[in-house]
Symmetry: C2
Subunit: 399 residues, 2 copies
């Protein structure tokens, strides 16, 4: 059978169970993908990620294109071999990084700052930008993104799309969406070319749904994806600014989508949003949140933490080890957690490491968060199998 392929084991009104079969191993879904942006989880090596039973890593085409370059990774035998990772890999198209550079950061986005022409020019051909490393000028076209992703050789790859921010108008979103659809079509044509130098027989290509927060545009995007022969659906573009709004946009983006393909929700990683996504039928997620949170002192926590801390019901899903209340607290982050960090280190020690800017602290917290996410996703899969997702949600989220 042609790799990769997707097998749906069970579909329920509160989520579905599946298996993504790739050349580098199987991925049980629903699954959360950690971002090995520059071909590493920051501070955690591939061996440790394996020990934590991580199913898959997602790397970033934009960063790896600039360094070390696709040829180096191709000569290493592909992304997995290059980074010493033996499981499946995904790469995103590089679009998100380029456009977030061009549109500016989230706070600029919220303020509605205009796109910076200095860093980014978008045309029908592709996205022209300047390397943050050495100032050299690049033009990332849909075809180039496919070439680079073929050289990187991940199991699944994405089409180049224009990631539009929240605060742009219906018309701007429509223009960008229609261009993204044309880019997606060009990506697929390039992907199917038999004579591409780094053509891989085992790769799957995801198309990406656009349309921002506008129901009519989301509907158009669903029709486009259904009509185009992608391996998987990605749900991209703006999902609004709140969890509630995300739920509404997800409903639009999923309505009418043909359901025999795997569905990936791009850039979503908050615990509550993952449960919401799973229960709407999302198969896979990726986000930097769990690893970035760890590096900055945050540990993911289950609701029983707040109960044992004798605090009244607390809606937060993490604690910040930098807080001085942990200075003399000689318990593990979570006494019931089986992760390597909770098995060996205390809140006081992690607090000390974070306050002393010792990178071991961020690494230990990242390990905890990776274990937390992998364990939670396994519980979610068991919940769907046992028709008890709502109970799993209450157990992990408290609501």
């Amino acid at each position: 059978m042609q790799l990769p392929y997707f097998v749906l084991q069970k579909t329920t009104p509160y989520g579905r169970l599946g298996t993504l079969v790739t050349a580098h191993g199987n991925i049980s879904t629903p699954c959360f993908f950690f971002c090995a942006t520059k071909a590493t989880i920051k501070g955690i090596d591939a061996q440790a990620m394996e020990t934590l039973r991580t199913p898959v890593l997602l790397a970033n085409t934009y960063h790896l294109m600039l360094h070390p370059g696709p040829n180096v990774i191709a000569q290493a035998g592909g992304l997995g071999a290059f980074m010493g990772w033996r499981g499946p890999t995904y790469t995103d198209s590089g679009g998100y990084q380029i456009f977030s550079l061009g549109y500016g950061c989230v706070s600029q986005e919220i303020k509605g700052s205009p796109r910076s022409e200095r860093y980014l020019r978008i045309s029908e051909k592709g996205a022209e930008f300047f390397s943050y490393r050495d100032g050299t000028k690049w033009c990332l076209t849909p075809e180039l993104s496919i070439h680079v992703q073929q050289a990187l050789g991940a199991d699944c790859i994405f089409t180049l799309d224009e990631c539009t921010p929240y605060h742009i108008s219906y018309d701007q979103t429509r223009v960008a969406m229609e261009r993204s659809h044309r880019w997606a079509q060009r990506s697929l044509s390039e992907f199917l070319r038999e004579d591409a130098p780094y053509k891989k027989s085992y790769q799957g290509l995801y198309g990406i749904s656009q349309g921002g927060i506008y129901p009519q545009l989301r509907r158009t995007s669903v029709e486009f994806l259904n009509a185009t022969d992608f391996f998987g659906h990605g749900i991209g573009g703006s999902l609004g600014t709140t969890s509630k709004e995300m739920g509404e946009v997800l409903d639009m983006a999923l309505e009418g989508l043909c359901l025999n393909r795997p569905i990936h929700l791009l850039g979503i990683g908050k615990i509550e949003d993952i449960f919401d996504g799973v229960m709407k039928g999302i198969d896979t997620f990726d986000c930097v949140i769990p690893t970035r949170l760890g590096r900055h002192g945050g540990a993911l926590i289950m609701p029983h933490y707040w109960k044992s801390a004798q605090e009244s019901y607390h809606a937060r899903t993490s604690i910040n080890l930098l807080k001085s209340c942990f200075r003399n607290d000689h318990r593990p982050i979570d006494e019931s957690c089986l992760c390597p960090t909770c098995q060996r280190y205390t809140r006081a020690y992690l607090h000390h490491l974070m306050k002393s800017k010792e990178i071991t602290g961020g690494a230990c917290l990242t390990l905890h968060n990776v274990f937390f996410m992998n364990t939670m996703m396994a519980a979610i899969r068991e919940g769907i199998a046992a028709d008890s997702v709502a109970q799993v949600r209450t157990h992990w989220l408290g609501r």
Copy 2:
């Protein structure tokens, strides 16, 4: 038997074999101690250090006194329990950090810059300094250093000494040495006090030899150490600026020293200097070099590396993975190395991580260097046992 104790198994003209028996495990000597300065090896957690068969960790009293403070560590059950490390620990007195702050950095020392009165005032009582963390004023006395080290609870601890730099005169060195001897005597008295709040029955106290590069002063210091009831000898103060000079100063510092105590050489960690030290009878060493080198892209290398690289004889003991020659080099650092890094990652990948400022790169190189040092020290011990240290030296150093 009173812990710790030192058993000499074999004494030869080219080094000696021994065992340091501590409450937290045995240390086979000659041994190299890694510096877990702020209670961690930067980027490497205690579990990984155990996996690499690291015998002992040395932490820093000065840094831990400022954060998290001795009380926090005492309440954790001592340094080892605090940092999740199950083996033996040492702490230095904190003197080195204070005086290097006061005397300035190495380049200032070489230029002979005067001591900065802003940061450091030395009196008979102790060393007054200002915290680099919050500007608070401290006075580290010999007694306070012992109190803090008793609270930290390492297996072996050091007396507070004034670490004089290379470029000070005979008279200045003599004044500092005599004061250090008085401080050492006060340290011992304090250490022996039965009613100290954090008194530990299992701790051993090292006195430290001073006298810089002056034979007569080194002789005086030897007499002082022999006459004072320390558990071990530390060799401190300036050892000159070259390996040759270090050899000469070591000869002075060892001549006449009573040999039934363990002898620790402070702050020495270059491969050639370790072999020179071992062959003169040094039992233990500590230095930041192997771990700092790794963080900055350096991997320790055996002579066969240079042969396989078809370079003419190369006296260097490390390579710098930041160099562009490694960009497309898909071999491990050393094909014969059994460390976790060489088992999984290539020079090209490590080069990419270092160039991309990914902390995983420094962590992987640190792991390699720790494994290298531990393996080399084991080979040295086997060499002494088999009367073949010279061959071991040639194998590891190429000369």
